[in-house]
Amino acid sequence: MSLHNGESGDGANRWYDLFSRGTRDWLRHNEKVREAVREQLPDLVAGSDVLSRPENRTVKVPVRFMEHYHFTLRQPSEQTGAGQGAGKPGDVLRPAQPVRPGQGQQGGGEGEGGITFVLEFQIDDILDWLWEELKLPNLQPKEGSAVEEDTLIREGWDKRGARSRLDRRRTMRESIKRRTAQPTSNVPISNEDLRFRQLARRRRPTTNAAVFFVLDVSSSMDDHCRKLAKSFFFWALQGIRRQFSSIETVFIAHTVEAWEFAEEEFFQVHGQGGTKSSTGLAKAQEVLDERFDPATYNCYLFYATDGHNFSEDRSRATDQLLELAQAMNFCGYAEVSHQNHRRLDTEVAGIWRALDEAGIPCGSYSLTREADIWPAIKAFFTDQAGEPEEA
C-alpha cells in the first residue's frame, strides 16, 4: 500500500497537468453548437442584441447547451419523490408558480438542456456563412474607380540589407556555388554569400468606399424603429466592408436639423420634434463635397426613417436626393415602422419612388420586425448587383 504524489518529479503521473479532457470535450460541444447555430444563423443575428460589440468585430449569440438524448419517461402530470426534513403530510413546500403570460405551457426545457450560455462569433465568419447561405452577389464597384496607392513589395536582391530580409535559400545557393568552385574552403557561409531581399515602391489599385448612413431620429422614431434601422445599417455596412479594402463611413442623424456623429454615438442619439428629410440629405451632400471625390470612391447612401416628413419639405427633399444620388453607386431606403399595412406608402417612400423613376439605382425596403432584416439585406445586394453600370 502506498501513497503516490501526482506531483512527484518522475513525471510518470503528470500527464493530466498537460491535457484537460474536460476542456477538449467542452470545445467539441461548442463546435457542435456553432454548427447548429450556423444553420439558423440569419434568424439569430437578426436579433439586435448581437450588435453589442461591433468594435471587437465579434457578436455574442445566446445558445443552449446541447442535450445528449437518452430514453426517458414522459413528464408525468404529478411526480413523486422522497425528501427529508421538517415536512408533515399536507405541508406545501413550494406554492404553485403563476404561469407567465406569453410563455407556453410547454414543459421540459429543465435541467441541462435548459441552460443557456453565450458564444462569441467572429463577424467575418458570420458574413462568410451568410453570403454563402443567402447566395448574395458581390457588390459592383464603379468602373474606373480604382485608386492608385503606393505599396511596398519585395523585389530583387542585394548583397547588403537588413537582417530580417535575409534570403536564406538564395544565400545557401551562393554558398554551395562558392564551395563547389573552391573545394578547399571550409567556411560554410561567407559574407560574400549573403543575399538580401529588396523592397520596391509600386503603385497598386485599391478599391475605396464611402458609406453614408442617414437616420431620422425625430420623436416618432421609437426604440423599435431605431433597433431595426440599426440592424439594417449594421449588416449592410458589414456586407460592404467585406468587399472593399478601405471604407469610410459617415453617420448623420436628423430631425429638422442634421448633425454628423461618430459611429459609437450614432445609435444613441435621441431627437425631439418633427422631421425634415432634406436637412439630413443636405448634410450628406456637404460631407461628400468636402471629403470624397465621387470619381475615386464607391459611394453608398442608406436612409432609414419611419416615412413621415413635413409635406412642405417634399420638393426640397426630392431635389436634394436627386442631386446626392448622382454621386452614389446605389441608394437604399429602409422604412422602419410598426404596421404591416401601408408598406412603402408614405411621404418619404414617395420621394424615393421619384428617384427610381428618374432611373437612378436605388432600392426601397420595408422593415416592421426583425424577420424583415435579412430579406431587406438580401434585396439590397441583389438590387445593387442587378443595376446596370452607371454611366
Binding site: 501513497l3 503516490h4 479532457r21 474536460g22 460541444h29 446541447m66 438524448y69 413528464q75
Partner: protein, 462 residues
C-alpha cells in the same frame, strides 16, 4: 510531497481497519490536483473515451465548483489494487478522513456480492481497461474520422444503461431453438409437473415434416440493447461493434456502483467515523477537525435549509448502518453488506422508526410547480427513494424483433414503467441508433392516453 503526517497515518489506519475486520484488496493512494478530480467525477473513470456530452457535464461541474457548491473529497476505483485519489488542496484532516472512508469502500467492493459478481465479469483493472478503450477509440478517430466515431458514441453512450447484468459479459449468440435440433429431453421432476398448467393443452410435438422454422430473433425480449446491436446489426463495421462493446463493458462496471450507492457510501461513512473514533494515534484536535468534515459530508440538507427534496445517500446509508450495527452487531451488519443491494437494503432495513427519526417523507410535485408532502406508508417511502434507481435509472426498453428485412423493432414496457416515453427524446435516440443500424428502426411505446404508438427516427416522420 504529500503531508508527512498523512503518510504516517495511512498504514496505521489500515492496520486498525484490519483489526476491526475490514477485508479488502490493497489500496493505491494518489494525490492529485482538483482539476483532475473534477474530470474523474465527470467521466466516472480517470481516462475515458472522448465525447462532447462529457464536456457539458464538465463545464457544469466547473461552474458548481467555482460557485463553491461542490467539493470533491475522494474517488476510488475498486479493483486489485483499488485506486484511490486524494485532492492535494484538501487539508490533511480532510484527507485523513478520506483515507478511512476509502478503506470502507475497498471493504465493501471486496465483499458485496453485486460488486464481486461485476468484478468477476469485468476484471480487476477497469481503470487500465477504460484507458485502453479510450486509446483505441482515439486511434479509430485517426483512421475513420472523428465525426463518424462520434456518431457511434452518440448511439452507444445514449444506450449505456440498457444492459442486462443478469447475463454474462462474454455472452454467446442465441442458440437455435431446441425444436429445430435434437429431440427434447424428457422434462424431469418439477418441470414435468408444472411445464403445463392445469387445463392447458400439452404442446403437440412438432411433426417430422413440419417446416423448419426460422428462429425468432431475439428468442426472448432482449434488454441488453448494446449487446444486441453489436452482435446483430446488419451492416456495422468491426470498429463500431468494438465501441459498443467497450461502452457496454464500462456500463457493467458502473452498474453496481449505481445500484449500491446508498449502502456503499453509508458503509464507507460508517467506517471512516468508526476508524477515526478508535484511532488513538490521532491527535485529539485532529480528530475534532476530521469529524467536522464528517458532519459536512453526511448532513441531510445543504447549507441552512431545513428541508431537502432529495435524500442524501451518504446520510441515509450512514444512519442505517449505524443503527444496524448497534442493533444487530458488526458481524450481522457485514452479512447484510455482503448480500444486499440498495433495493434489498432499503426495503428490508429502513424501518418506520428510523424513517421517522430521519424525517423522511414522500412529496408530490405538480406541473404548476406546487410541491406538497403527501401521506405515505413505509412501502411508498421505500419506493419513492428507490424509484430513480430502477433499471439502472432508465426506462425498460427491449428488442422485440429483428425482422427478416433487417428492421429493428424495439418496445418499451410502458405498463411496467407506468407511462410512455418522452416522444421527442426517444425520436432523437432512434436517430442515433438509425445511424449505426442502417436499416429501419421502430420503437413502440404508449401515448398519454395509454394507446400504443410507433416511433421512428425524427427524420422518418410522415
Amino acid at each position: 510531497m504529500p503531508d508527512k503526517r498523512l503518510q504516517d497515518f495511512i498504514p496505521q489506519i489500515e492496520s486498525l481497519a484490519r483489526e476491526l475486520g475490514l477485508h479488502h484488496f490493497p489500496v493505491d493512494f494518489e494525490v492529485v490536483p482538483p482539476s483532475f478530480m473534477m474530470e474523474v467525477a465527470v467521466y466516472g473513470l480517470p481516462v475515458r473515451m472522448p465525447h462532447w456530452s462529457f464536456g457539458v457535464r464538465w463545464i457544469y461541474q466547473m461552474v458548481q465548483h467555482k460557485m463553491g457548491n461542490s467539493k470533491i473529497f475522494e474517488v476510488v476505483f475498486p479493483g486489485n489494487p483499488n485506486r484511490a485519489y486524494l485532492v492535494n488542496t484538501n487539508s490533511v484532516e480532510e484527507n485523513t478522513l478520506v483515507v478511512a472512508h476509502v478503506l470502507g469502500h475497498a471493504d465493501f467492493s471486496h465483499n458485496n456480492q453485486t460488486f464481486v459478481r461485476s468484478q468477476n465479469q469485468v476484471g480487476y483493472h477497469i481503470v487500465e481497461q477504460a484507458a485502453a478503450h479510450a486509446h483505441r477509440i482515439e486511434e479509430v478517430m485517426e483512421t475513420e474520422g472523428a465525426r463518424r466515431v462520434e456518431e457511434v458514441l452518440d448511439a452507444a453512450l445514449a444506450l449505456e444503461p440498457h444492459i442486462d447484468t443478469g447475463q454474462p459479459l462474454e455472452r454467446p449468440a442465441y442458440r437455435p431453438s431446441p425444436r429445430a435440433g435434437a429431440p427434447e429431453k424428457q422434462p424431469e421432476g418439477f418441470h414435468q409437473r408444472f411445464a403445463h398448467l392445469p387445463g392447458e393443452e400439452p404442446e403437440q410435438p412438432a411433426g417430422r415434416r413440419a417446416p423448419r422454422q426460422a428462429m425468432h430473433i431475439p428468442p426472448h425480449p432482449e434488454r441488453d440493447l448494446l449487446w444486441f446491436i453489436a452482435h446483430y446489426a446488419p451492416e456495422m463495421e468491426d470498429w463500431e461493434r468494438d465501441i459498443f462493446l467497450a461502452v457496454r463493458k464500462e456500463a457493467y462496471y458502473f452498474q453496481p456502483v449505481f445500484n449500491c450507492q446508498i449502502m456503499n457510501e453509508g458503509w464507507a461513512s460508517y467506517w471512516h467515523s468508526r476508524l477515526l473514533r478508535e484511532a488513538d494515534f490521532l491527535p485529539s484536535q485532529m480528530y475534532v477537525d476530521c469529524m467536522k468534515t464528517h458532519s459536512d459530508v453526511v448532513r441531510p440538507y445543504a447549507g441552512e435549509q431545513q428541508v431537502a427534496l432529495k435524500v442524501n445517500p451518504y446520510h441515509l446509508g450512514y444512519r442505517m448502518w449505524e443503527k444496524l450495527t448497534e442493533d444487530k452487531g458488526t458481524e450481522a451488519a457485514r452479512d447484510i453488506m455482503a448480500e444486499e443491494d440498495d433495493f434489498g437494503f432499503v426495503r428490508n432495513y429502513l424501518d418506520r422508526s428510523l424513517a421517522e427519526e430521519l424525517g423522511l417523507f414522500v412529496y408530490s410535485a405538480k406541473q404548476n410547480g406546487e410541491i406538497r408532502v403527501t401521506e405515505s406508508n413505509l412501502h411508498e417511502l421505500h419506493e419513492a427513494i428507490l424509484a430513480p434507481k430502477y433499471n439502472f435509472g432508465a426506462p425498460r426498453v427491449y428488442v422485440d424483433e429483428l425482422q427478416a428485412d433487417g428492421t429493428l423493432n424495439l418496445r418499451h414496457q410502458a405498463e411496467g414503467d407506468g407511462r410512455g416515453l418522452d416522444v421527442d427524446r426517444a425520436r432523437h435516440v432512434l436517430e442515433y441508433i438509425d445511424r449505426v443500424w442502417r436499416r429501419p428502426v421502430k420503437l413502440y411505446t404508449h401515448d398519454e392516453r395509454g394507446r400504443e404508438i410507433c416511433l421512428k427516427p425524427g427524420w422518418d416522420d410522415d
